[in-house]
């Protein structure tokens, strides 16, 4: 809920209780539908069976290897997109000429669904690691450029003026003011884009792969192992959730000043 553009504060304990309650409701609905066989077991497995299957996947199903494979693919695509996107985004946010040069291309690219690139990626790179990394890269790059440029463009002019009065040149202002000020916001953006990358890797693996979580998913569907599908979906969600929490933790660790000085977040 918002009031005057600010989130109304909610005590942490209450927040956790409500969050738990929200999850329990979903599990309850799931339990009722499955245990009472309102939906056939072929389409919906029960919570206990799913839990048992998650356990089995870890113990005897070799799932850890596939989790790692997917994570490594995501990391490659994600880091590559950051290497290309961060400098472009920052320059785009700071220099109007570069913005004019890039902006149209990005807006165009942004509206092409990644799925549309899959045939091209397979044609260019075959069903390979490169193909999957390319899909992740192309899928999140436009957003990384866009959000980074917004973060850089929104650095308060007051700070830039201070830099000028101390005789800082453009490069120094970029390095010593714009970058450190924008970094927490860029980090936040990267966290959101990591979620995007995680979704893309599963998509790429569902389409064409011989390892990874998405591959295991499509395998389970082929053999009609419904409980495996449910177990895998939950594992995918959990891994994503853990990555997200790591990013949040990193924010507090890397930018202790940002949260407490209540600087503008985008």
């Amino acid at each position: 809920m918002k009031k005057n553009g600010q989130h109304l504060e909610l005590p942490k304990r209450k927040y956790v209780i409500i969050a738990l309650f929200g999850s329990i409701i979903i599990i309850l609905i799931w339990a009722v539908l499955s245990y009472l066989k309102i939906v056939s077991p072929i389409f919906l497995s029960t919570p206990t069976e799913t839990l048992k299957n998650i356990f089995n996947l870890f113990v005897s199903g070799n799932i850890l290897k596939d989790i790692l494979v997917s994570i490594i693919r995501v990391l490659f695509g994600f880091i590559l997109a950051l290497i290309v996107g961060l400098p472009l985004g920052i320059f785009c946010g700071v220099f109007k000429k570069i913005e004019a040069f890039i902006e149209t291309n990005i807006s165009f690219l942004r509206y092409i669904p990644v799925a549309a690139f899959i045939p091209l990626a397979i044609l260019w790179f075959g069903v390979s690691e490169t193909e999957k990394i390319f899909l992740i890269f192309i899928g999140i790059l436009p957003y990384i450029i866009l959000y980074t440029s917004v973060a850089a463009a929104n650095v308060e002019k007051e700070y830039i003026e201070v830099g000028k009065t101390f005789g800082a040149n453009e490069w120094q202002i970029l390095k010593k003011i714009i970058l450190p000020r924008a970094l927490p916001n860029i980090w936040d953006m990267a966290r959101i884009e990591m979620g995007g990358a995680w979704a893309l890797v599963v998509l790429a693996e569902v389409i064409a792969a011989n390892s990874g979580l998405g591959y295991r998913l499509i395998l389970a569907q082929r053999f009609l192992h419904t409980t495996d599908i449910f177990a895998l979906i939950i594992i995918i969600g959990l891994v994503g959730f853990i990555i997200d929490q790591l990013f949040k933790l990193g924010y507090f660790y890397l930018f202790p000043w940002a949260e407490k000085s209540k600087v503008k977040r985008i």
Partner: protein, 244 residues
């Protein structure tokens, strides 16, 4: 010796095709080592004048000289202190103070930082972030950050306007102390009459828009402890400002 010359400064702002005259022909010269105050009512263009002298915005007409150099962009020998402190929230106190020094690759950096932390009385707070400081302490850091690069001329725009009276008084004493120790030339902008009389060697009184200097008043140093004379000057200035 005249350190700063402000000659025929005019500034118009164009808004929706209409030109609004903010500054109408401002002229003054500042002596080296002197503290001058620009005193004027709120919204009279003081900050605009400040921004022009700082080299942050251009004048519509007129010129400003630092020595013989014309000011067209921020000058390294002109230190600037803003009302809102504008400390960098991502830097600790000592890093904020070292900001200008680092840009200049000064060799005895640590030594200088320690020196100015000492001058503004922030010993023991070096490793805190700005959000951990009170308003007065923040402004001390901002003063130290500017002093650290040892500018010949310091420009201040209502730097203590947001502080409570007690803290403000302490900051005034700090300014006098700095002046004594470092012999810096200061131009201080304020709408606070008592502050002006307390700090000034010379006061320039600005009119309402378009701003012009309507009176120049010298305040002899010997008067600083003569309460009756100070009150007399304050009354005189009040009269000038209300009649203008």
């Amino acid at each position: 010796m005249k350190l700063i010359k402000v000659e025929h400064i005019n500034k118009n702002f164009v808004n929706n095709g209409e030109s609004l005259k903010i500054l109408g022909d401002i002229n003054f010269k500042l002596d080296k080592g002197e503290t001058s105050i620009i005193l004027g009512p709120s919204g009279c263009g003081k900050t605009t004048l400040f921004n022009i002298i700082a080299g942050l915005i251009p004048a519509t007409k007129g010129k400003i000289f630092f020595g013989n150099e014309e000011i067209v962009s921020p000058h390294k020998q002109i230190g600037v202190i803003f009302q809102e402190t504008r400390l960098f929230p991502w830097l600790k106190v000592k890093e904020n103070i070292a900001f200008g020094l680092k840009l200049k690759n000064k060799t005895n950096l640590d030594e200088k930082v320690v020196k100015y932390i000492d001058i503004v009385g922030l010993k023991g707070f070096e490793n805190l972030y700005p959000h951990e400081l009170s308003g007065g302490m923040k402004q001390r850091v901002a003063v130290a950050r500017t002093l650290a690069v040892e500018p010949e001329f310091i420009l201040m725009d209502e730097p203590f306007g947001a502080l409570d009276p007690k803290t403000r008084k302490k900051m005034h004493e700090l300014v006098l102390e700095i002046k004594e120790k470092l012999d810096t030339t200061i131009l201080f902008i304020t709408h606070n009459l008592k502050e002006a009389v307390f700090l000034a060697d010379k006061i320039y009184i600005l009119s309402a828009l378009p701003a012009k200097i309507i009176k120049e008043i010298e305040i002899p140093k010997v008067l600083r402890n003569d309460k009756n004379k100070i009150i007399e000057i304050e009354n005189q200035i009040t009269k000038i400002m209300t009649e203008a």
